[in-house]
Amino acid sequence: MEVNEQIAVDHGLKKEEYKKICDLLKRVPNLTELGIFSAMWNEHCSYKSSRLHLKKLPTSGKKVIQGPGENAGVIDIEDGDAIVFKIESHNHPSFIEPYQGAATGVGGIMRDVFTMGARPIANLNSIHFGSSQHKKTKNLLRGVVHGIGGYGNCMGVPTIAGQTSFDSSYNGNILVNAMTLGLVKKNKIFYSKAAGLNKPVIYVGSKTGRDGIHGASMASASFDEKIEEKKPTVQVGDPFTEKLLLEACLELMAGDSIIAIQDMGAAGLTSSSIEMASKGNLGIELNLNKVPCRESKMTPYEIMLSESQERMLIVLENGKEELAKKIFDKWDLDFAIIGKTTNTKNIELYYDEKQVASIPINTLVENSPMYDRKWKKTKLPKKNLIKKEEFKKFKIKEVLNKILSNPNVCSKEWIWQQYDHTVMGDTIQKPGGDSGVVRVHGTDKAVAATVDSSAIYCWAHPLTGGKQVVCESWRNLISVGATPIAITNCLNFGSPEKEENMGEFVECVQGIGEACEYLKFPVVSGNVSFYNQTKEIGIKPTPSIGGVGLIKDYKQMITMDFKEINNLVLIIGKTEGHIDQSLFARNILDEKNGPPPEINLFNEKNNGETVLQLIKNNLVRSVHDVSIGGIITAVSKMCIKGNKGIEFNKPKYFMSEIEYLFSEDQGRYVIEIESKNLKKVESILDKNSVHFDELGKIIDKNMIINGKTKVTIDELKSYNTNWLTNYMN
């Protein structure tokens, strides 16, 4: 088939991009070459709309071993140990085929992590669905949860934390972001940079089939009514093969045979071979007849663009082929020598002894398009003038019931009970806490991880929202007693070709960058997902932040459940009564305008570090950060988990009870202390100039507000635990 402009456009390329390809090659590409360009130049692989802005993020720090640009980021957790971690989106496929889409998302991110030599030790996920009223939501939720469980459970990696939200902006574009942490010795990390000439290029894992061809291109386009036709572009996962691949790779990695290794993820064999060669400034030659294929008569085009799962490409040291083959034979996996590294700096493909493609690698990578897209700034919205008298008509108990049973607040046990969260025998904080925590096997250390996003705040004011979500991640780590180290981000946005959506992206990234810089909480890996858009409507901007922290002595880990009657409850950080964009404003007042709560990075850092100091001095019995739903929501969860009540003190501020209890001011934590330690705690808080109030005292079985409103623990439980189970059954 002769390639022309129309065929290029059908591959998702712009006309000017096609012209650029012809100029770079000084000829018209053949179909296989065009397919390779379209795979490498699409948004998903090339980051052409985002690169310019991502450069501004802080990516280095004392603990950073590897920042963005590799399969995953790596941080130092001392004693020669390192954590490899990354988050990635699988949004488009999960909407088309929720089980396989979510499953392969989990499989893909685990592969990114073990490609670097790390054994995966924890999975997390951030999943976002349309309104609970929308006809597709229930099936999508069920499918995604089954898919995540189906893959992660079979791999034997615990799923330790996650986040689920519902918002009508996801009606036509759900989000599935999967994150994995792996453990590796610092001196045994593997990278994707090829080195040396005439080194054998090895293909291992599953056979190549026709599934997922053009998956990455599909993920770089908006949806329309024909989306169901895209089903064949969704990959099919086989966690059993991935488990074997994991064990086989780790076995091979124990020796010194591997020069470079790269998993075949988006754009399969194309991007993996090109990335390894590009990083090593080499050429690569592949004989496509040697690629193990599942189906007969696959064309070079199909072989290069297949996104069949559970495959790896390895550049081996010469002479190690037999040793490597023996390991993959033991695990019943395909093994084939399919090519070698060269000095041509081209990717050269052969099929039936004919050259079927030859492309200079720099044209695919360095010369890929980069756009400085137009974007629109979002002004800080004006504050709503809500009359305080209005609040008087609300009964606290009724409001509390509505807030605790809100789909975005209610217990997600129905979901995480379907994930194996205890396999590997090191999970010391299960899902449902502020962060999941796993021990570093055989040591006293533990690693905490959390995944967060705040689309409402980002939508109201992207700059503030971007900062807020980083702070939320920081707080969630501190709340379990972990020192925050670094983050990975998954940036889910609408179309970059629309100024509003691009503006949301630019300003969220700016906010993320500012907060990361200030908190010394660098970004070490991540991924961008644009075009979360059906026809003209984009999702609310949803950066998901995956934060990781270290607990040096796992016995100092803290949980949120109230521990003991008569202990005192303090609120750290100042309560100003910010109601705009709170759950209360949006769901009870039905007021959707106004600015999100302000972020004060100084207070955020100071409050967080002080809470951590209290924890390390063993002065705190339980901690929970205050997020959506305000103080009373945070305290309710501590009551429910600890099966204890609280008697609130009367607030000393000039604000209504509603504002005090439901406002969403930032940088706050609820802590439980023993009354004998009050003096010590006060002196540390005062010394660090941290604002705090005495919120109340732990009592048996009831929550008592202002001496008059009484809610039993059983009532709190039923508000919080029933919604999701009832909805799904």
């Binding site: 089954h146 469980g149 189906g150 459970n153 079979c154 791999m155 034997g156 086989d238 966690p239 059993f240 093969t241 488990k243 074997l244 695990w331 019943d332 995480w416 009970q417 379907q418 994930y419 194996d420 969260h421 205890t422 396999v423 590997m424 025998g425 090191d426 999970t427 010391i428 299960k430 021990r439 796992y554 016995k555 880990m557």
Partner: protein, 227 residues
Amino acid sequence: MKSAVITFPGSNCDRDMHVALNKFGFKNQMVWHNDIELPKSDLVVLPGGFSYGDYLRCGSMASKSKIMQSVINFAKSGGLVMGICNGFQILVESGLVPGVLLRNKYLEFICKNVFVKIDNKNNPYFKNLDKEVFEFHIAHNEGNYFCTNDQLKEIEDNNQVAIYYCNDNGKTEEKFNPNGSLKNIAGIFNKEKNVLGMMPHPERMIDQSLSGEDGSLFFKNLINNIK
């Protein structure tokens, strides 16, 4: 005391079991499914996981793997063989214990703590335990025990039920049954009581920072019984 844990392709609780056995004094050895001979052992464990991806039927392919012939011979000669979760599924598929394990009643994977009641202490696994109700952890998709009426009668006549799902007081009512198992059955012995298959994972409850410590009681008692 020597133990052996078999690793099948797709086993994923093999390491956890290895850690637990060593912690309580066994000298454990990992055995590859393609091996033919078992090492000399006082206890053989088939661990949890997804052997062969649970394809075809959970446990069915693993039950035909090379090492299983030795495991079956070992069991028939009176050796102690314990199958946990997927290991239990392999035991039923290989015919060492009666019955089958169906998909959970609500068609969902379940990972949580449950209580189980020990019915019969006249066996090497539970002898000398000083309580009846244990808190264990389950994590499975196919733990719904089923057998024919004739089999059930035989099982009950021979005291072959090892543990029942129950509440913290040992009540074995249907509402404490997490997966729809017949009669709340969570674990079964062979007739001779040297082979035990059960869905719960005692190896996940071996220190106070985990889901609980009842697994420690189980293993400590087990090694003392074998000594």
